[in-house]
Amino acid sequence: MSDLNRESLRDIYKDWGLFGRILGYLKPYGFLVTAVIVILFVVSLLNLAGPYLTKIVIDDHIRPSKMEGVDRIALLYLAVLLASFGGQFLQTYLIQFIGQKVMFDLRTQVFAHLHKMSFSFFDRNPIGKVVTRVVNDVEVLNEMLTSGLILIFNDLFTLAGIFCIMFYLDWRLTGVVCLVFPFLYWATQAYRVRARDALRKNRAHVSGLNTFLEENLAGMSTVQMFGREEAHYERFLSIHREKLHEDLRSLQYNALYVPSIDLFNSVGVGLVIWFGGGRFVQEEIQLGVLVAFLQYLQKFFDPVRDMAEKFNIIQTAMVSSERIFELLDTPEEIANPPAPLPVRSVKGEVEFEKVWFAYTDERWVLKDISFSIREGESLAIVGATGSGKSTLINTLCRFYDIQKGAIRIDGMPIQQMRKEDLRRNLALVQQDVYLFSGNVLDNIRLGNRNLGIEEVETIAQAVNSHQFIDRLPYKYEHEIREGGESLSMGQRQLLSFARALAADPRILILDEATSSVDTETEIQIQSAMRQLIQGRTSLIIAHRLSTLKHVDKVLVLKNGEIAEYGTQKELLAKKGIFHKLHSLQAQSHI
């Protein structure tokens, strides 16, 4: 028990921190929130006016048997009803409005933050998990704001209001009712600690369940081909059972706690009947007061019960908010410099000077790499698998930051540019092409939305894509499904060329696809590539001998170090690796 208490103290501390942060999101809507609270206050007052008016009618009119004045009270009652109607509508609408706005802010903030995350973040975090943060967790938080947090004011006002009225009606009776409170407090504490534990565990299971579900949906063909249906169903069931167990546990606590409030309520009412009835007999108290008091007392416990229900919503939301904030607190690993150099359009000189890079610790993937490319020159990078070719490109795009040395474009270190400025001047054509759902047209003009259809067609023609696009049922308007499944590898590659050409960068980086396309396309791709590098500074990871023919300089990487580097002429004279490659190439033309 004491363990549970200590645990809960720390949690409470943390919860208040989270709570404060969530409240921070309400700040921009401070005026609206204040308005809602005022309206809530008024509405709860109006709702409390009913029994009080009844009391006045009983004590001042019915008991003394005089009806004059009742019509005024009735009119007042009607006014109260109308005001309450308007107030409630405004309250519901405003609360939802604020909730939706906050959800919008939070969701777009999380989304924007995701775009600041480095690639290693996405390597570490499954897609399903991240999607849950942006969609479901934010949704839960909204529920807490709209049906929890703001309405709690309603409960608090009602509670305070009733207490004041009861105190005003008869402070002695109120004192008697107060006898119940310590027990109520004790029950509440006991409930909270346990319910929190169960709810938290439950959320963890929910998250595990969703991850499993997502993974299985994505890999369904594999599951089926390997006949794993039953085994995976069993696994799913076992995770799901644990979730159900916690579900039922928190339900059990709730089922015990909420009715206990009724008992406290009835003890209170009983005490008032016994004690108050006695005082009526002794004529210390009017009948109307006693009736009104009993009516208020019955209402008094409604907000308490209500808050217990909200506790569930809020607890669930706490876990969600914790996870959202955890994501938002993940620092941006590769940040823009505080005072970036102004970059508009670069000429395209690229320089690596004594560059060292390691993904982790000191396991260097690039060692002391130096080379330079002048404007419009092309450089082929060759090397065996794992020699550091892709890493070299990643550092140039600043997907990762180098540890030592400098990378410069037009003499400016890339770390001193805004990432966006840097990347706007680069176009990267990757081996595995990712296509977005949308039509062909939008996929091509990804980097340059202003292009018209004619321009896009010209571009597609230049990189040999027009032919196959023209054969698609809706041509440029053809909808590409998720991941571009309906297109072949080669077609996707050609599309990515068109995409790069449409961005019209000064510097082109091309990771040549290895062997996923056939020879015919190969020829198309080769000619498209020549078009693409025309007049641009280009870095090409070359997997084809024929590619080497068309470049100005060649860099041979071996285990992260430069083995050979120079113009074709220089390297041929050297009679090293490049020379061998070149003679292979010559043979092929026999």
């Binding site: 109607f85 390997f226 249906e229 159900l244 016994w274």
Partner: protein, 584 residues
């Protein structure tokens, strides 16, 4: 709000009839005890002027406490049983949905996206649960309390009850005019949330491209646009409910006013006791919650029914590909494959992917398939283990149409390795022993050896127990492909389909692996789809596909003599290989 969707609920209600029954019973108990309270208070108020003794007062207090105790017990009961049942129903439905996912086929998963399916399995399911738990509770509660209050009020004072209850039909008018609109607007909200989910998913999946093309701002703007639309749709629902619930409260208030007006007069005229008046008002006040409940129920049931229809769309989806009635399992396959005039068009595709394919591969033979972009190579492979169903012509395995086999047999004896294999976030061992979790150490070692994974495993500190990140992100492309091969080999398949399965490996390694498979796994029929022709020189048969038809066919030597596309490609590739060797 069709009958079908209600039937969906009813079937689960029947399944949990005991829990639900107990819950409803407890709820009735709660309601009746709750209704007794104003009655006791009425008696108390009427009794007061007769100067009750301490004992009498204690009696009233005790009576009240007893009623409250019953009420509390009932409350516990319905919470535990009604809500408990709704959790179990949720549990059952999700299990059923997951179970159904497992039997659905590729055409289905191509139609509905993962983000959308996830949204149905989580958000929509929650709506269903709320309807089953809260909805049922409020439905019963409202019905009981409303009718009991009507009756009791009528018993106390029939004419007063008539006047007081007169404004209430307003509620039903409100009810019917809103139902339709509300359901439509709810659906719009839920559909839009699916769109948002899908957008986020795609953004993350394609984040590398988006960043290299500096599309962050554009994507953020598009996302903001979606979220703005979401606000609008949500507020449309709010506007309706914002009116609905206060209108109910207002109606009750009007009744209260009438009661005060007419009832007060009646007390003064002496046709009604003060106690009756207090009780009458007490019951009227008890009506306000169930009346609000009516609004809540509409909300819950609309959401619930929309959600059910979305879940039902999954559950009622029939897999096209399944065991034909009377499919007999003939035991382990021998491995002969035959295509008889097979043509195939993908669902929703404009042109056929395969046209009139005739092909015969004897058990133990090696068939190589190569060809141009989109020529139908992968399609040909997908049809053999029935990942898609052939509509024209027939595919035979060991002389029997594939449709005559139970799916399980085909899939057990056919190993299929894709270019982009899907790995599970589990250990390497679990991924390799996917089909046979009971595989022995020796069996695993053997397939690791055959898949050429031994040197890679040596580099992982935890060896086979290394956990692969989601979809194998922590492995290189070549490693993923070989893990996929290993997990196919451990099935001891009779037919092995390698669909460009080694594209991320160098040619040398590919050749070594292929050789090893053929020497180690005797009599296995292999179908290799590749662009690397040198590695399939020794195939028994090589076919070159072009736009769905077989353009060249023969052995390596025959095709080289013909001097067509195959011969040309082959020569180019031999060269590329030399290059690789030089660089090593």
């Amino acid at each position: 709000m069709s009958w079908n969707h209600l039937r969906f609920f009813v079937s689960y209600l029947i399944k949990y009839r005991i829990g639900v029954g107990l819950g409803i019973l407890a709820l009735l108990l709660t309601d009746f005890a709750g209704l007794a309270v104003p009655w006791i208070l009425k008696e108390f108020v009427d009794f007061l002027p007769r100067s009750p003794s301490q004992i009498d007062l204690l009696g009233f207090a005790g009576l009240l406490f007893a009623a409250a105790s019953i009420q509390a017990t009932g409350r516990f009961g319905w919470r535990k049983y009604l809500f408990g049942s709704s959790r179990r129903v949720e549990f059952d439905i999700l299990n059923r949905v997951f179970g159904h996912f497992l039997i659905l086929d590729r055409p289905f998963f191509q139609r509905l996206r993962i983000g959308d399916l996830m949204s149905r399995a989580t958000n929509d399911l929650r709506a269903v649960r709320d309807f089953m738990g809260l909805g049922l509770l409020i439905l019963v509660d409202s019905a009981v309390v409303i009718s009991a209050c009507f009756i009791l009020m009528t018993v106390i004072n029939p004419s007063l009850a008539f006047w007081v209850l007169l404004p209430l039909p307003l509620v039903s008018i409100l009810f019917f005019s809103y139902v339709e609109t509300i359901s439509r607007r709810h659906r719009e909200v839920q559909e839009h949330l699916s769109v948002i989910t899908e957008r986020v998913r795609e953004n993350i999946a394609g984040i590398r491209v988006l960043h290299s093309f500096v599309q962050e701002e554009h994507e953020k703007e598009k996302f903001r646009e979606l979220c703005r639309e979401y606000i609008i749709r949500n507020l449309r629902v709010t506007r309706l409910f914002g009116v609905f619930t206060p209108a109910l409260v207002f109606t009750i208030g009007i009744s209260g006013l009438i009661s005060l007006w007419i009832g007060g007069r009646a007390v003064i005229e002496g046709s009604m006791t003060l106690g009756d008046f207090v009780a009458f008002n007490g019951y009227l006040m008890q009506l306000s919650w169930p009346m609000m409940g009516v609004g809540y129920i509409i909300n819950l049931s609309q959401r619930g029914l929309v959600a059910v229809s979305r879940i039902d769309e999954i559950l009622s989806a029939e897999p096209v590909i399944r065991d034909r009635a009377g499919a007999v399992d003939p035991g382990t396959l021998e491995g002969g494959i035959e295509f008889r005039d097979v043509s195939f068009t993908y669902p929703a595709a404009a042109s056929p992917s395969l046209i009139g394919i005739d092909l015969r591969v004897n058990p133990g033979q090696k068939l190589a398939v190569t060809g141009l972009i989109g020529s139908g190579k992968s399609t040909l492979a997908l049809l053999i283990p029935r990942l898609y169903e052939v509509e024209e012509g027939a595919i035979l395995v060991d002389g029997r149409p594939v449709t005559d086999y139970p799916l399980e047999r085909l899939r057990r004896d056919i190993g299929y390795v894709e270019q982009n294999p899907f790995l599970f976030s589990a250990t390497l061992r679990e991924n390799i022993a996917l089909e046979r979790p009971d595989a022995t150490r020796e069996e695993i070692d053997e397939v690791i050896e055959n898949a050429g994974l031994v040197p890679d495993l040596a580099r992982f500190p935890e060896g086979l127990d290394t956990v692969v990140g989601e979809r194998g992100v922590s492995l290189s492309g070549g490693q993923k492909q070989r893990v996929a091969l290993a997990r196919a080999l451990i099935k001891k398949p009779r037919i092995l389909i390698l669909d460009d399965a080694f594209s991320s490996l160098d040619a040398e390694t590919e050749e070594i692996i292929l050789k090893r498979i053929h020497t180690q796994v005797r009599g296995i029929t292999t179908l290799i789809i590749t662009h690397r022709l040198p590695v399939v020189r020794d195939a028994d048969q090589i076919i070159v596909l072009d736009r769905g038809t077989i353009m060249e066919r023969g052995t390596h030597d025959e095709l080289m003599r013909v001097g067509g596309l195959y011969a040309r490609t082959c020569r180019n590739q031999a060269l590329a290989r030399e290059m690789e060797i030089t660089l090593q």
